[in-house]
């Protein structure tokens, strides 16, 4: 049973990590607590839903939904945050704008589409499960694990192995200096928004596929865990988000499995607080505080 529980934890953790990848990128690089992030997750799931209902196969619907979510993210970032960024407003103002926006977006979506839960067309992905050594895993779950690994690898390569990644990291470290060095920060911000939004959209499709429930507030319900993952993993740290996501998933599952399912959240959050008490910048974060 322990092996199956660890696998359960790994799968749950992979969904957390998948959700958090774009979030940590957006947060770490653009330095904005962008609460609209959860909406791109919802948007991706709905776009894939419509595409597959129109007959598109999953391997087309997934990237299309991701790209469209990325475009929505870029557009919203431009609409909501360029003005504040230019005015040099503090991060609390952007937090507030995105909070208002996300309230309006979810409510608008519910008013337009109704609050009902929808599901992707049956047969989109083989329903069977692999069984080996007494462990069971479904195709959707394998897809999530694979996508998670692939996206983490891709992002790490992008950030560490390309000139673009260098520019992004420069901007994350010192936005003003990066601008002086001739990096077009506005265009870079748009690009980071796009990548984050696309990651959120892809996450929405895959997680929607796994839990088979697509509804306007699905992104909202991931936000709290998303916060925990990106903070424990260290803001902007892709690898940290992966590890923190997996850890959170495994801790939740093991608490539910071996202590008490009613305490699963309390235990997970108590551990979060303990991590921050002992490592104030998360497990993999370096403190950004600079003095005099």
């Amino acid at each position: 049973m322990l092996a199956q529980q660890l696998l359960n934890g790994l799968l749950l953790g992979a969904t957390y990590a998948l959700f958090a990848l774009g979030f940590t990128l957006m947060f770490g690089v653009l330095r904005v607590v962008n609460l609209t992030y959860g909406f791109y997750f919802t948007a991706g799931a709905f776009l894939a839903l419509w595409l597959t209902q129109a007959g598109a196969p999953l391997f087309l619907a997934l990237p299309a939904a991701a790209i469209a979510s990325g475009l929505i993210a870029t557009l919203l970032d431009w609409l909501l945050l360029t003005r504040l960024r230019r005015a040099g407003a503090d991060e609390l103002a952007s937090l507030m704008v995105t909070l208002g926006a996300v309230l309006a977006l979810y409510a608008g979506m519910t008013a337009w589409l109704g609050p009902d839960i929808r599901r992707l067309p049956p047969g989109l992905i083989a329903a069977g499960a692999l069984e080996a050594f007494g462990l069971r895993i479904t195709l959707a779950q394998i897809l999530i694990l694979a996508a998670c690994a692939l996206l983490v690898g891709l992002l790490l390569w992008l950030m560490r192995g390309t000139r673009l990644g260098l520019a992004i990291r420069a901007m994350a470290e010192r936005p003003d200096t990066a601008a002086l060095m001739g990096i077009a920060t506005a265009r870079l911000a748009a690009l980071v928004s796009f990548v984050s939004g696309a990651l959120a959209g892809a996450g929405g499709v895959l997680i929607g596929l796994n839990f088979n429930a697509i509804h306007p507030y699905m992104g909202e319900s991931m936000m709290l865990r998303g916060f925990v993952v990106i903070v424990v993993g260290g803001l902007g740290n892709i690898f940290g988000a992966l590890v923190a996501g997996l850890l959170l998933g495994i801790i939740e599952v093991l608490t539910a499995g071996y202590i008490s399912s009613g305490l699963k959240e309390a235990v997970a959050f108590a551990l979060l607080v303990l991590v921050l008490w002992t490592r104030p910048a998360g497990l993999f974060g370096t403190t950004l505080a600079r003095k005099a």
Binding site: F27, L92, A107, A111, V228, V231
Partner: protein
């Protein structure tokens, strides 16, 4: 004057909510005023609400005794967790305080005497409206007086530049802990007053979403003076009621109003900053 009674009846809960949310906004304001993004206000409120409800329901104590004690419990909690928590900054502090709130929510859900998911009901409606507003007025007055003193200057200095404030002799850690305790008092008070005017409290009244709502009160209003967060709280409390005729798009408009307000007034609706001293030769 039947119509007046009806008016009171119709808006009684709204009137309570305006007062309580005003106190909550001030509870957020005192920590934001020293530059701390501490989001434990909903948790403090929950502690005040639950402890006061238990004192009323289980021990049968009178409300005048319950009210001050309900502020003590959140303060004790603040003192217990403050040390390690207040070393954190920015979003790390925010998420740690949210985490503590979720731990408390887990306690409410799992401890039988706290009612679990059923919450606590039948709490006596012992908090009169005038008391709520008297408390709010008192809180604004105290924060105004303190704001225009050396303490207010030190708080503002901390918010603007902690290093410089430290070099002026401001004991940052003491101020952080003291403001957290002040925040706990105000939120605990709000919790007790709210519990004793709505009959019922449940664990989900004090989770992540209320925490974000309380933050938005202060951010929308601004933090230049204690009037600003109260204004923000009042606007955000009234807005959904004013927009009621819009039916299913009212929450859309609610969000849109916030976006527009912040885009054009990024420093809050009331951006005016109070002076930090009493002008000589003038009355207080």
């Amino acid at each position: 004057m039947a119509w007046f009674d009806d008016l009171l009846f119709t808006y009684q809960n709204l009137a309570v909510a305006l007062g309580v949310n005003g106190l909550l906004a001030l509870s957020m304001y005192v920590v934001l005023a020293v530059g701390q993004l501490s989001l434990g206000q909903a948790a403090f409120m929950g502690l005040g609400a639950y402890s006061s409800a238990l004192m009323s329901l289980q021990l049968g104590w009178p409300f005048w005794a319950v009210l001050p004690l309900s502020c003590v419990v959140p303060v004790l909690f603040a003192l217990a967790v403050g040390g390690p928590t207040l070393r954190l900054n920015g979003v790390y502090l925010a998420i740690a305080t949210i985490g503590l709130g979720e731990v408390l929510r887990g306690v409410y859900l799992n401890v039988d005497v706290l009612g679990g998911a059923m919450g606590l009901s039948g709490i006596p409606e012992a908090a009169p409206l005038w008391l709520i507003y008297a408390m709010l007025a008192l809180a604004v007055l105290v924060l105004w007086q303190v704001g225009k003193s050396g303490i207010g200057r030190a708080m503002e200095a901390m918010r603007l530049d902690e290093t410089a404030a430290l070099s002026m002799g401001v004991n940052i850690r003491r101020y952080r802990l003291a403001t957290l305790c002040a925040s706990a008092v105000l939120a605990g008070l709000a919790g007790a007053l709210s519990a004793h005017s709505t009959d019922f409290i449940g664990p989900n009244d004090f989770g992540f979403e209320p925490a974000v709502t309380i933050l938005s009160f202060a951010l929308l209003g601004g933090i230049g003076s204690p009037f600003a967060p109260v204004l923000g709280a009042w606007l955000l409390t009234l807005l959904p009621e004013v927009l009621r005729p819009l039916a299913d798009v009212r929450l859309v408009m609610n969000g849109a109003v916030i976006v527009v307000a912040v885009l054009f007034l990024p420093r809050g609706l009331l951006a005016w900053r109070m002076p930090r001293h009493v002008r000589p030769g003038r009355a207080a």
